[in-house]
């Protein structure tokens, strides 16, 4: 099976440029492995393209975007101020629907935070080399999404200044958290996930920070890139341990990423509430998180490759692969939605059946319809290659999924809580001004962090991309080292 080795990637019989144009590597030719990086890049041009994004003068458009994100962030902070000074009454949360927007937003953001580690860890373990161009980007997205996610449960505890009670810290009350509660599991899961994702992201970035250190010409940049690159010299003895550490981190992060959203789903599944108390939740939540996370990666990657000139690295094939994952996980999500109805019917349980009739036909049916259309119908477009490789179509579908996945959590939280067992305790949930401003404001926090990342840090994993180019592979240097040195390969 020599046709499947990377050495054959530049089989002279097939010219990349002739198949479908210079930047198109989305063709299917089983005799020829499509290149992961298009354009005629050598090591230096890869370095140049990526580091210039961090080292050039700040473009005006960046300031515009940064001011807008900051305005939204200020709005978010204002909402927190309102909450702290007036209390949880500023939210629409009421007695049956005690979770309301904060938990919907929490699950939404944690879900988005899954694609990064999935791309980094799982695709790495499966040797899916196409991850190299998008992993840095997606990992950054993960961390910022988890920051947004973490702020909601911390604020939702009611008295956020006592949020440290969530952690097992010795205190004057001689009390400890309850380790049998899924809410405490969540504290551990989300914090572990945030920490390990941050380490994974940072460790992956050390060699690239060293590249920036060596190319930066201003003193402040040299100091900070130098500080955070830890004196990296690219030593092969270091690379050896570094690669092992990266592999082990990937192996650790893989079960972790699956566990985090499972634990989040336990918050729901271990309760007695119809609509929540179901064993399908862990796999269904994980698939939904991957689905929503990839949609967010596509949403961010499409404009980024355009604006930052990264089309050679984030190629159409990358986007198409992500769209395939969106289609696949979207099908799992659709299957889970349907199975829930079957289970409710099959259970013969009065309250369970009511909860699932109330979803599509109750007062929140509009939210259910939005969720179902966005998450199940919209991705079906990706069955067609034309749609998978069309920028407007994939942006449309990704936006549908972003909206749909938020509504999924809204449907799960609200429809299950607002009409539980006793009709006398039923009530409707109506979000307040602050609820909506907080949701929008959290995007301000997310984009502020993301823009800072795009401005100052290497957006593409430089050393990893170099490693998947054909020049990075040795060519029988024992016998004909000289010939290879002459560059006869290209």
């Amino acid at each position: 099976m020599t046709t499947l080795t990377t050495d054959n990637a530049h089989n002279p019989v097939v010219d990349d440029n002739k198949v479908l144009g210079p930047n198109d590597n989305a063709y299917q030719d089983p005799t020829h492995r499509a290149p992961l990086v298009t354009g005629k890049h050598d090591f230096n041009s890869i370095t140049q393209t990526v580091t210039d994004l961090s080292l050039r003068k700040t473009p005006k458009a960046w300031y515009v975007a940064f001011v807008i994100s900051n305005a939204l962030l200020v709005m978010f902070l204002y909402c927190i101020f309102e909450l702290l000074t007036k209390g949880t009454g500023v939210w629409g949360n009421n007695n049956p629907v005690a979770w309301g927007f904060p938990i919907v937003n929490f699950v939404f953001w944690v879900g988005i935070g899954h694609a990064g580690t999935l791309i980094s860890a799982i695709l790495f373990l499966f040797r899916q080399n196409w991850r190299t161009s998008i992993n840095r980007f997606a990992e950054a997205m993960t961390i910022f999404a988890v920051v947004c996610a973490g702020s909601f449960p911390a604020l939702h505890v009611g008295r956020p200044w006592l949020a440290y009670w969530l952690f097992p810290i010795p205190n004057q009350m001689d009390m400890w958290p309850q380790f049998r509660s899924p809410l405490l599991w969540d504290v551990f899961a989300v914090n572990t996930y945030a920490t390990v994702s941050l380490l994974f992201w940072y460790v992956g970035m050390i060699p690239d920070l060293a590249t920036l250190r060596d190319r930066c010409s201003n003193k402040i940049g040299q100091f900070f890139y130098g500080l955070f690159s830890l004196g990296w010299t690219g030593s092969s003895r270091h690379w050896h341990r570094y690669e092992k550490a990266y592999l082990l981190l990937a192996a650790l992060a893989t079960p972790l990423v699956l566990s985090v959203h499972s634990v989040v789903s336990f918050d729901f599944a271990t309760s007695q509430l119809p609509g929540w108390h179901t064993t399908i939740f862990p796999p269904y939540f994980v698939a939904g998180a991957v689905f929503g996370g990839f949609a967010m990666v596509v949403t961010l990657a499409v404009p980024a490759r355009q604006w930052f000139g990264l089309k050679d690295f984030i190629t159409m094939r990358h986007l198409e692969n992500m769209n395939k994952i969106i289609l696949g996980t979207g099908m799992i999500v659709g299957y889970a939605y349907t199975t829930e109805f079957f289970t409710a019917w099959y259970s013969g349980h009065h309250f369970e059946q009511f909860a699932f009739l109330n979803r599509p036909f109750g007062p929140y049916s509009w939210a259910f319809i939005v969720m179902f259309c966005c998450n199940v119908f919209a991705p079906q477009l990706f069955w067609f290659k034309k749609c998978r490789t069309s920028i407007p179509v994939m942006l449309f579908v990704a936006m549908c999924v972003n909206v749909g996945m938020w509504f999924e959590r809204f449907v799960i939280v609200t429809t299950s809580l607002h009409r539980d067992f006793l009709p006398s305790s039923w009530d409707m949930f109506v979000p307040t001004r602050i609820d909506i401003m907080m949701l929008i404001g959290s995007f301000g926090l997310f984009f502020t962090l993301f823009l800072l990342f795009c401005r100052f840090l290497p957006m593409v994993a430089i050393s990893e991309v170099k490693n998947v180019t054909p020049q990075a592979h040795p060519h029988h240097h024992h016998d004909d080292g000289d010939e290879a040195n002459k560059g006869g390969h290209h």
């Binding site: 958290p177 309850q178 914090n191 010299t233 341990r241 024992h478 290879a484």
Partner: protein
Amino acid sequence: MVLGMPTNKPQTEPKLVAMLAEFDSVDSILAASEKVRDAGYTKWDTHTPFPVHGIDDAMGIKPTILPWLVLGGGITGCLGGLALAWYTNAFEYPFLTSGKPQFSLPANIPVIFETTVLLAAFGAVFGMLGLNRLPWHYNPLFKKKGFARVTNDRFVVVIEASDPLFDKTRTGDLLSSLGAICVEEVED
């Protein structure tokens, strides 16, 4: 790994600490590494912009003990998580909730799992940094202007002066014979 170690003596005149040879391709660095290895040098290294496939064999790098550190971190995390849950909920502060047992393994597995992964990950990251002696911001190699290209597109062989086989002329000749773009002395 003596390179870059600070000496307590005040430095008066620059001292030769290593010889450096630059290469411009994966194939040439691999061929050069094999020759340096076969010449019997022990205190030497190559510096590359990305992990070069096959360089471990070409240089004779032994497998790292890092996986054991990760295992140690994982076991510590596992036992620590178990001890934390048992100590706080079954021993120090027993509190009856919904008639659940004071301590049962299944209810504690999620937290134990998370602490296991967390400490194993610490083992991987801090173990790797520790074994690589990083952070180490002072390094005489950084004084060489050409060395900055090692994080871009250059491949460098460095033989340290502290190597028992090191001899300025002979080591220099060896490096020149490998087809290097240039051979330089590194002083500290």
